[in-house]
Amino acid sequence: MKEVFTMWRHTQMVVLVALSAAIYAAVLIPFKGFAIIPGFTEIRPANVFPFVFGLLFGPAGAWGAAIGNLIGDFFGTLGIGSIFGFVGNFFLGFLPYKMWGAYFRRGENMEPTVNTGKKLAVYIAISILASAVCADWIAWFNDLIGFVPFAALGSIITVNNAIAGIILGPILLLVLYPRVKRWGLLWTEIMRPDEVPAARFQALGNILMWVGGIGALVVGLALGLGLYKQGFAAAGFASGGAGGLGIGLALLPFLALIVIASFLLGGREQVEAADEEANSPRVR
């Protein structure tokens, strides 16, 4: 996760954070009136931006998603839940670029776009996982403090994010990628390899992220919908009420897996691949 902090050394990345956040917020705000749970969430086509900006601008896209969502919250959904709205949206922009490298071998074309079937499939898979991880953080915290049950918020956020990302994302990525690359604004072109951690346990990180992200959602929904009464509680697992402390404690290991996986995934291989491409004779 080193790049999340080292990126602030680059003025271009700072500006990209601000621009990503502003675009995300500017599209979020007009839809604040289309509430799904008043005061908590609404129809959000703007959720396509964290995926696209995350892939193109890397950590700047992740910070942009977090800040953009916070600014959007000022126009109708501000509350204590906004703290984990910040965290959840950060992961929504963080996962796409972090996971991307795990699906391509060294030397394989790993440009962050969807111009091949494999890249489109990877993009869709990552969008679903990132949507679930974002929902895990936000719904877990809102359930823990007793605002909204995990089952309601978790499922709505996952579907809301995934629909926007899967339907609008590929179109936006195809439009933006060639331009962003031409302007030299890809995160892999701005950051240096030594500023990004090497992927030493990438496969393990990939597996842990899936287990943590989807596992938290499945277990949270199971507990929230009352399945604990039939099976889990009988096994001595998650004793207590549905949600609240039960969900709060049961999801902690999964959330910990998400954080651990974030440290294992690396990202330097993408920067090195971009460097190699820039230095190849074909480009010169």
Binding site: W8, R9, T11, Q12, V14, V15, L16, V17, A18, L19, A21, A22, I23, A25, A26, V27, I29, I37, P38, G39, P45, W63, G64, I67, G68, L70, I71, D73, F74, F75, G76, T77, L78, G79, G146, F147, V148, P149, A152, L168, L172, V175, L176, R179, V180, W183, G184, L185, G241, A242, G243, G244
Partner: protein, 158 residues
């Protein structure tokens, strides 16, 4: 009543904050509480750019309307489909300004040193302390009322 008040508060609180606090004050305030200035700068710049982006989008929509494009008719999905192509130039032109923006910042010394000074000086006064104390008391009272069972969002809160 509780639900209505809560929704009103969530909408009004952010609006009051943004309409009564200047961007420079937000940035300086964030730095004062220990947030790195590059991060504070990103937040305040994003806040400043939101209305600019919205205004650019509106200008493009008006320009297309004046050429005969009908953006008003149709259901929600149809309207989104009509408006989406108009937004692409807004995003592209905004992102395109990154390099010029970065050069302008660096030419003014942005990032030249780890610490920076501000023209705007913020200091905690008596009135600030009074307002903070008043709202702290209100917050504690609100939390106490919430635990006493008032302001429950029916169907969602346990």
């Amino acid at each position: 009543m509780g639900i209505a008040l809560r929704i009103c508060v969530t909408i009004i609180a952010g609006m009051i904050f943004l309409s009564t606090t200047r961007n420079e004050e937000i940035a300086t305030g964030l730095v004062k509480i220990g947030i790195p200035y590059r991060f504070a700068f990103a937040i305040s710049t994003a806040l400043r750019l939101v209305p600019t982006i919205a205004a650019t989008g509106s200008t493009i929509a008006q320009a297309q309307r004046s050429r005969g494009l009908d953006l008003e008719s149709g259901n929600l999905i149809q309207r989104i489909r009509k408006n989406t192509p108009l937004l692409i130039p807004v995003f592209v032109s905004t992102i395109r300004s990154t390099n010029v923006f970065s050069m302008a910042l660096e030419s003014k010394g942005f990032g030249a040193s780890t610490e920076r000074t501000y023209f705007l000086y913020l200091a905690m006064g008596r009135r600030d302390a009074f307002v903070l104390l008043t709202f702290a008391v209100l917050l504690i009272a609100a939390i106490a009322l919430r635990f006493a069972g008032y302001g429950v969002l029916e169907g969602f809160s346990r």
